[in-house]
């Protein structure tokens, strides 16, 4: 955490860029509203949105916490199940031809359209939210980690065979670490999709969460409150993505993409 703060303030260029761009966009937005006076029903100023948030921060944060929890549970399950499924697909010709084929085909359909079905199956509690988050996030995770598990140099596998490595040793010592960069790529897409899934779940049914807050505010034509929720979602989405990215840097210092980065900051 300290390292993170230091990097933020000490100004690692990329992180700083993000904050500068966001600040500039908010400023332009504020000035735009100030000059053109759009109806507050269409576009409220950022300052107004912030003030609205501080009228009832506890309310927003409670709903946000619920959405965040749904997202994280859905995402966590998608990583665990996704990795297990990928390993199965790699080692089983049968799973490859059934589960993997099905997954690739299903990936191209708009899966949010299935959300109402989950409500019928699971009711209006937290379960369908988690399930939809899981369903959306697991696709990129499985597809990318299968790719990663397969991207092992055949001579590395030959070496393992010559050394009489067990399948378990091959998996843990070669295939899995080799797949990590790919898995992280899938997880970065997956974490954003998990958040989308949780929100969609709240849109479809239920009475809690930021998605639900947006629906309520929309019903009252309360644009400002819609924007408070959107802004909070934007922040949470960015932070989640950043955390996955940060975990990747910690875990994969050896990887090419990370090396290029450290070279640049080193010079």
């Amino acid at each position: 955490m300290m390292a993170f703060l230091k990097r933020l303030i000490g100004g690692e260029s990329e992180t700083r860029d993000v904050f500068v761009v966001i600040a500039a966009a908010l400023l332009l937005w504020e000035i735009g509203v100030w000059i053109f006076h759009p109806s507050p029903l269409i576009l409220p100023a950022p300052s107004v949105i912030v003030v609205e948030f501080f009228k009832a921060p506890g309310l927003y944060l409670r709903h946000l916490a619920f959405t965040l929890l749904m997202t994280l549970i859905g995402f966590g399950l998608s990583v665990v199940l996704g990795v297990a499924l990928s390993v199965g697909i790699i080692y089983s010709r049968f799973l490859e031809r059934t589960a993997y084929t099905l997954l690739v085909v299903l990936n191209s359909i708009p899966k949010v359209a299935l959300a109402p079905l989950f409500v019928i199956w699971m009711g209006t509690g937290p379960e369908p939210k988690v399930a939809i988050a899981l369903m959306l996030a697991i696709f990129p995770i499985v597809i990318d980690s299968v790719l990663g598990l397969r991207s092992v140099d055949p001579d590395m596998l030959n070496l393992a065979r010559v050394s009489k490595a067990s399948p378990w040793a091959v998996l843990t010592k070669i295939r899995f670490p080799c797949a990590l960069p790919s898995l992280f790529a899938g997880m970065k897409v997956g974490i954003s999709l998990a958040l989308v899934g949780a929100i969609v779940g709240e849109f479809v049914a239920g009475n809690y969460g930021i998605g639900f807050q947006i629906l309520v505010a929309q019903g009252q034509f309360d644009t400002v409150r819609v924007f408070v929720s959107l802004l909070l979602l934007g922040i949470v989405g960015a932070v989640l993505f950043f955390l996955v990215n940060y975990a990747e840097r910690l875990l994969l210092p050896w990887h090419v993409s990370q090396r290029a980065r450290s070279d640049r900051s080193g010079s």
């Binding site: 140099d153 070496l159 010559v162 040793a169 090419v256």
Partner: protein, 271 residues
């Protein structure tokens, strides 16, 4: 099923040879039909002998190595190692591939220890042996570095250390220096000649460099293409230990010329 008589005959044929290939053929199945990669390969390698295989690319050199390593099965004939028919990778085998295949996330020392770690935790003695090998190959001080911090030559040295760690009887090398620049390659040739002199491993060395083959080997096996077969074998009786300067000698040039000439006759090389 083989009769005991046949086994006895095979053992007699292989007597004195550590590696013995008799009438070996290999045909790959592919979508466009069978690809005959090797036909009628007969080759005996004596214990402690350094044998090189030279031939144009695609003539089946890697296939030959994989057959001896037990990584591929033969389509015809038989491969025997230490008198026993091969069934999967044999014990006491070290392999070096053209690409160093070091694991990016392991230090150089841990990469060298990998061949043992696949099956068990390396002992303190084995760690010490790994350190010794690295030192011997000029990698002292690099044990804790990661592969990406090393040059191509250093990486390939590390992968040779890895192959030598378990002190194998038989060492197989598939164009190990093929991706290196000429100077590094010369260095490694000298180092390999030295280590072979000291350890006397039975060594099957694949290369497409005639000069490299003559410099290193007791015998050079020449292969021709499609399908791959052995066209000739030349015994190189240059005195050992060999230094790089031996390459300037007239005898050396004669060996190289004989091999080159032979390939030219076969239409594989232009003279």
């Amino acid at each position: 099923m083989r009769s005991s008589n046949e086994i006895a005959v095979a053992a007699a044929n292989a007597a004195g040879a550590y590696v013995s290939l008799s009438q070996v053929g290999k045909t790959y199945a592919s979508a466009r039909g069978p690809i005959p990669a090797l036909v009628d390969i007969n080759l005996d390698i004596k214990p402690h002998e350094f044998v090189s295989v030279v031939g144009p690319s695609g003539c089946g050199k890697s296939t030959l190595l994989k057959l001896v390593a037990g990584l591929e099965g033969v389509s015809a004939g038989s491969v025997q190692i230490a008198g026993r028919p091969l069934n999967g990778p044999p014990d006491g085998l070290g392999v070096v591939f053209q690409r160093d295949v070091l694991l990016d996330w392991r230090t150089i020392l841990d990469n060298v220890l990998l061949s043992i770690e696949f099956t068990r935790k390396p002992s303190a003695a084995e760690r010490a042996r790994a350190m010794g090998l690295l030192k011997r190959f000029g990698l002292a001080g690099f044990e804790d570095r990661f592969p990406f911090e090393l040059s191509g030559g250093m990486r390939q040295r590390a992968s040779i250390c890895r192959a030598l760690l378990a002190d194998p009887e038989l060492l197989l090398m598939d164009e190990p220096f093929g991706a290196l620049d000429a100077m590094t390659r010369d260095d490694l040739n000298v180092e390999l000649a030295q280590i072979w002199q000291d350890t006397r491993k039975t060594l099957l060395f694949i290369t497409h460099s005639i000069v490299e083959a003559v410099f290193l080997s007791d015998r050079v096996v020449m292969m021709s293409k499609t399908p791959g077969k052995i066209v000739d074998t030349i015994t190189v009786d240059l005195p050992r230990p060999r230094r790089l300067a031996v390459r300037d000698s007239a005898e050396f040039a004669t060996f190289v010329q004989r091999i080159r000439h032979h390939f030219a006759e076969l239409g594989i090389l232009k003279e």
